[in-house]
Symmetry: D2
Subunit: 260 residues, 4 copies
């Protein structure tokens, strides 16, 4: 797999600092280990190296979804891979699905959703804050996912344009406000996920989900701890992320028809 002009690549310095950049002929990048000419990467295999003017080797990699999520331009707190990965599995997001995201934020989760529904599905992402929406759109375009995403600058409360969608993701300060619109947009058996930092949001969100007849409601938190591995002195690292948010899940049941 060869690097092409215009490709997004992950450049890795000898001391494992990483840079997500686009490769263009003649484009330079300054680092603490000298200047590299990104054009040198064109035509290389991924996994090969380019060299700075100080003759330090910089690895050229194709970025993973995680790399793209962690490196995007942030205007908000992003959704972390630890949370996004579990959302995808628990909601069963897969190729061909139609997903509504309410709260585009910086687009990190949008990207993970787009990657999961591609090549035949679509993500519809709503944000009432135009500058966030625009930033997220730019991030998705840079990552090559624009084809799977439609951006809308709108309030969630007003309702979504889509019907019969498979999954709705709610990332709002007042998640409960998005629940009725989600209930309306989801197909029977469709899944909902909501992310919130505080337990108060979770409590009100779950209450609203129950009122709207959602089932299999579940709230969890995900913690990741890094282990520093070295022969004879392996140990967990001193500091870790203690909290990002709580994840709440539910499933849309259709209204029960009366037994006769």
């Amino acid at each position: 797999m060869k690097v092409k002009e215009g490709a997004s690549v992950l450049i890795v310095s000898p001391d494992e600092k990483t840079y997500l950049v686009k490769v263009h002929s003649g484009k330079g990048m300054g680092t603490h280990l000298g200047e590299v000419n990104l054009g040198d990467a064109i035509g290389l295999e991924y996994g090969e190296r380019i060299y700075s003017n100080l003759r330090h080797p910089f690895l050229v990699l194709d970025p993973t979804l995680e790399d793209r999520m962690m490196k995007l331009k942030r205007r908000t707190q992003i959704i972390y891979p630890k949370d996004a990965g579990l959302i995808l599995l628990k909601c069963g997001v897969t190729n061909g699905m139609r997903v509504v995201e309410c709260g585009s934020g910086s687009g990190a989760l949008t990207m993970a959703l787009a990657n999961a529904v591609a090549p035949t599905g679509k993500v519809y992402t709503y944000d009432r804050r135009e500058e966030f929406s625009e930033n997220a759109r730019q991030n998705l375009e840079n990552a090559g996912y624009s084809g799977y995403v439609e951006f809308k600058h709108r309030e969630a409360q007003a309702g979504f344009d889509e019907e019969d969608v498979d999954v709705v993701i709610i990332d709002l300060p007042s998640p409960w406000d998005g629940v009725p619109a989600a209930a309306h947009a989801l197909r029977g058996g469709g899944r909902i996920a909501s992310l919130s930092p505080t337990y108060n949001q979770v409590e009100r969100c779950v209450e609203r989900l129950e009122q709207e007849g959602f089932v299999l409601i579940e709230t969890i938190e995900v913690l990741v701890r890094t282990i520093r591995v070295a022969r004879g002195k392996t140990r967990p690292v001193d500091r870790m992320v203690g909290h990002t948010g709580f994840l709440t899940f539910g499933t849309k049941a259709l209204p029960e028809s009366p037994l006769d």
Copy 2:
């Protein structure tokens, strides 16, 4: 979306016990709340209900990837969704990729990988224990993923048939034994992930990864805690899973060519 004859469905009892079953006309299923006739589900919308002979309503849902992973027939400890979700994101597994899995186990991770590479990629999964391999194959077929998976009854150490693959997953009691074959099979920039329950396995695995020239080596563990949400009495639950395994990641760098 309507339920068809032969579909895999998730049946949910009023007290939220779940059953993953195939729908067939005339097929019954006994539960603690009476007998349900699965054939009644045919033609319903997902999210609708069938009723037991005791007139209890049972919801009919389409299973998520998580449901399928947690409900498969186990002959080994399975890979949990919390771990699988992060593996997919950190390795960037996506539509069209070719992935080698070394240690099919019960097929839980195989399923997550197959779902991620579909519709145009392929998972090659190796296991030297024929009865495990056969069980995993059955699980994948039941879940409708056979088209994206090739099963092989073979030792990892002997090397893989595939070359230039994007990702290799190692789930072996001696993960280090799989590293050289993985290094050989991976394309430049390809990603590797290994799962192991003990610190000792991690330590030897990382050592071997370093010897084989892998970069961006990282070991983590993922913890999930459930929150019991109820108005005015929201709290984490008393018991949780304290450990499944450590996840180790790395990236294949191509051999450095000498500077001249």
Copy 3:
């Protein structure tokens, strides 16, 4: 140190089951490995063994504070050593202090407090439920701590008899109800600790602490994970306690006198 008639001892079976019992001449104890005669322990050194009629050795130990806390007769959820240990340090409970405990429960924390204030301090413990109070009193007496504890069957809200105490511990379903009485009983600079399982309790408790002028308010939770250690296969255990309660701490500031 020799075992005396009437001593509380911890008996440990060869497979490390533990029994907290009183030694009396002629008193038997049935176990899965035969009958032991507890009288045989009299005159032994701690760390020596008595033998069952099936000739299995049972170790005779003097119980630690943890052993006593974990083995007492429970009528309520007990306070665990992981939480009690930190409460003692953060409140600075030490020899000679006067401590009010509001909610005796089964007496586990009472025991830890009594042990810390001994030999010259005192714990005053309140519980409005007479059967709990009586059970806790019995537990403390069995453990030999009665001399350092005074039991009172009373509501906290009614106020405490003591003044100028060093520390108040609140373990009530409505912890905020105990805060004003605590504020009144504490000396300047005195410390308060409250234990509650839910976020909601914590939120209301902290609010009341702020209203009463407490400072250095802090809420934490303590998690303990067991590691299974064995040469070449060391790993965290599969299951752990995910939650007992949140601990909230504060310090009594005296009312500010106006600057003139």
Copy 4:
């Protein structure tokens, strides 16, 4: 309780920065909110305030054991209260006991041990590094615990001077090296605790404990997470300490006498 000349006090600024200092008439202390005259505290009740030259109020408190441990002069990684508290309970350290500590470090755990054995017990603490020993001694003296501690500049491996001690604490880079001397110094039924950051240390330490006939061997880790409590927006904090060390416990069994 009034503040006296020479007392160690905890000064708390209006924004809850804390300072552990000795009060002396005429002694000043510079802060971000102006200069305070510590002599102003003499004769005040704890919980009252002194004022900076900018008229900001600073609370005067008596420090807890935690305050003293966290504020001592560090020359090494200290033992944290979360770990120390559980060590005290699990080893049953109490008034009157004789405890050997092997590895004085900065004296944080020494202080917690001294506080627990006072007023009639004694801590014997060994460290081969004279500058550490001297620093720890200074820290204990400042905190008023010198009367309960004896400092020795010596290797652990050489054996301890004490016999029949109740508890031995090992805080060494090679904890297994201290185990035989500990086994020799402990009375029957005595408890041992060892602290180590790496799993490799734990594995070798446990192995040696088993060889020396210790029973009830157990290894744990303690995690503390802070909750940020505020009406309507209560949540765990973003960052936490992910690891300090593993704690290993054991109990000394006397050699089994042959059954005849």
